[in-house]
């Protein structure tokens, strides 16, 4: 295929996802509500407490994981459950489908992560020691988290117990993301070890790129029964 054909196919999947989300905003509502409820719960639990950078980073990543893992697997699992997957199988190629959905999931995750991070920082009155590292950590974390859960959704979509399998597959894929995420975020919030924090942020970005590069090949193997 030519680059123009790739752009056309991936663009079509992305437009489809955006239209579906605007007209039936499941992803934003699920992810956003989960995240918002988590922030509110932590706010009440930590009222009058001063959070250390490590604890704050850990709590923020709990929020990311709740919102990300809840919302994203539905993009592939939803196609199977709604019966629309065969329409894609007879008209599209798996790489374009994966990348179109992956770009959408990444955008959704990044928007949710940015909003929840801003809200969390304000509500918990936290100071950011390294703004650049903070941005890299949230962006990298969003990219890595969306890559991991997109892949687990794609892997689990064809299974009989999709939801349960998606959760089980997500565990080993998401743990490295959470470790790197907390490491980079706590340094951004003032913990010592800038080099370690920067390395973790780079790791997140690399993980996000790798999961999106490898994911479609795995998805293509499961594309048709």
């Amino acid at each position: 295929m030519t680059p123009a054909q790739w752009r056309r196919q991936i663009g079509a999947m992305l437009r489809k996802e955006i239209r579906s989300e605007i007209r039936s905003p499941h992803g934003l509502l699920t992810g956003g509500l989960f995240g918002l409820l988590s922030v509110v719960a932590i706010m009440f639990a930590a009222f009058n407490m001063r959070l250390t950078p490590t604890l704050a980073a850990g709590l923020l990543w709990v929020i990311f994981l709740f919102s990300g893992v809840a919302a994203i697997p539905r993009s592939f699992i939803g196609e199977e459950e709604n019966g629309t997957a065969d329409l894609l199988r007879v008209t599209a190629n798996p790489f374009s489908v994966f990348w179109g959905k992956s770009i959408f999931n990444a955008a959704l995750t990044l928007i949710t992560a940015a909003v929840l991070t801003g809200l969390f920082l304000v509500v918990m009155n936290l100071q950011v020691a390294y703004p650049g590292l903070m941005v890299a950590s949230v962006l990298g974390g969003g990219l890595a988290l969306s890559g991991a859960v997109t892949l687990c959704g794609a892997l689990a979509a064809r299974a009989a117990s999709r939801q349960a399998l998606a959760g089980a597959i997500a565990l080993p894929l998401v743990i490295p993301v959470a470790v790197w995420g907390v490491t980079s975020l706590r340094v951004a919030l003032g913990e010592s070890g800038y080099e370690v924090g920067r390395g973790a942020a780079v790791g997140l970005i690399a993980y996000g790129v790798a999961s999106n590069a490898v994911g479609p090949y795995i998805y293509a193997a499961l594309w048709k029964r």
């Binding site: 196919q9 489809k16 579906s20 065969d86 329409l87 894609l88 007879v90 008209t91």
Partner: protein, 188 residues
């Protein structure tokens, strides 16, 4: 154009069908007929590459084909026109939206979301999607289910037009649709 060689499909320990052989040449319409549950849809799913056969193989001259199935769903939030736009982009072909909607009688409903469509309208849209890329082979699984008399006439026109240069593999229990066929493959 299409050949099925010794096809068989088993689910767990139950064979749905075995040793099915057929050949389809340009200009032919092959109707797969049989009682409910005999494996007609499964056979068409195998031909479309959606279901792997347990044994045997399918040989096609071209990978390009159009597929429409009663069981297949559409995107509830997308309009009729947006479905055709989506499939055209995914196939990298011309959308032919106006032409196809006129062909299947949906020109007045192009902005209607799929969730508001009747079963007959969905069947017509699936037919439009199947023929959009002018495929040499059409694989139609109970395409007439839910169609009114006008819709059935549209289906007949599409099948006859397709048979002029291409071929059609059709699974049906409708005697009127069987009349469109040049050959039959009967499942017990």
């Amino acid at each position: 154009m299409l050949r099925g060689e010794n096809l068989g499909k088993r689910f767990t320990d139950r064979w749905i069908f075995r040793r099915v052989n057929f050949e389809l040449q340009p200009g032919q319409v092959l109707a797969v007929v049989g009682p409910n549950g005999c494996g007609k849809s499964t056979l068409l799913g195998i031909v479309a590459g959606l279901i792997p056969p347990t044994e045997g193989r399918v040989a096609m001259d071209s990978e390009k084909f159009g597929y429409a199935s009663l069981a297949g769903e559409l995107y509830a939030e997308l309009t009729i026109a947006e479905h055709l736009e989506l499939t055209a982009d995914l196939r990298c072909c011309e959308p032919r939206t106006t032409e196809l909607l006129s062909l299947v009688g949906l020109a007045d409903s192009c902005d209607a979301p799929a969730r508001t469509m009747s079963s007959g309208m969905r069947a017509r849209l699936k037919l439009a999607i199947a023929v959009q890329d002018r495929p040499p082979l059409l694989v139609l699984d109970e395409p007439g289910a839910g169609l009114d008399r006008q819709g059935a006439a549209v289906l007949g026109d599409v099948v006859r037009a397709q048979a002029k240069g291409g071929a059609v593999l059709l699974a049906t229990n409708d005697p009127e649709e069987v009349k469109l066929a040049t050959h039959e493959l009967e499942f017990a």
